[in-house]
Amino acid sequence: MRLELIIGLGIPLVLVIVGRIVGARIERAHFLSLAEREARFRSRPTLSTKRFTPPLPIRSAELVTGSVVVSIDHFKRFISAFRMIVGGEVRAYSTLIERARREAVLRMMESRPDADAYINTRLETSTLATATGNEGMGTIEVLAYGTAVHYDRRP
């Protein structure tokens, strides 16, 4: 009886604590890496519009994509379950989705790092459900795609 109680309460508690400590560390490291990589692309615009006035004629254009699947940690999953009762912004989820979007856009740009601009960038988010059932809550895929253009620099 006592053993069952320890297992029944202990394991989820350990998972929540591990999720809190390791998840927070991963998140911090990820935000740092995002900021650093975004700085490298600052001179090349990522536009969500189709039409823009390029400073030089366009030589070539091609489709680029970047995607990432992320999942929420156990601590945040636990906390957001409480948030669902009272309502309001679920911050635990907003940072997760923000990380995923920024990562997807960066991967899109990194797939053609030499492009001069990325136009008509689209973001698409979808949730994944696992084969085992409802666990899929909190697992999302973000896809970023757009057209990478190169300017014609020939004299």
Binding site: V69, V70, R122, T127, L128, G138
Partner: protein, 104 residues
């Protein structure tokens, strides 16, 4: 084959339209990957196995779209769009579609 997700191919003139082309694939998750992802779920973060799986599927769907366009005699696909939907538990469909055109 040139793909863009805008209505034109910059630097080229579209001379002929062939209409809509599409390619899709439905993928189920691999058990091993699902298990690893279950463990990764505890600490959160990226599930690399799934990222790769979906990228492979998207490449496959794009290839099927390109094959359809080639068959029509097109040499470019413009206004390409991607969508994802889950058709059943553990399986997702990835669709790529666009307009096949011939450019000069």
């Amino acid at each position: 084959m040139i793909l863009t997700n805008i209505e034109i191919v910059p630097g080229h003139q579209i001379v002929q339209h062939f209409g809509l082309v599409q390619g899709s694939t439905i993928r189920a998750k691999h058990f091993g990957r699902d298990f690893a992802a279950g463990l990764k779920n505890i600490v959160g973060g990226e599930l690399k196995g799934y990222t790769e799986l979906l990228q492979e599927s998207r490449a496959e769907a794009t290839q099927r779209m390109i094959a359809q366009a080639t068959e029509l005699g097109a040499n470019a696909v413009v206004n390409v769009r991607f969508t994802t939907s889950s058709v059943a538990q553990g399986a997702s469909e990835i669709l790529a579609y666009g307009t096949a055109v011939r450019i000069e």
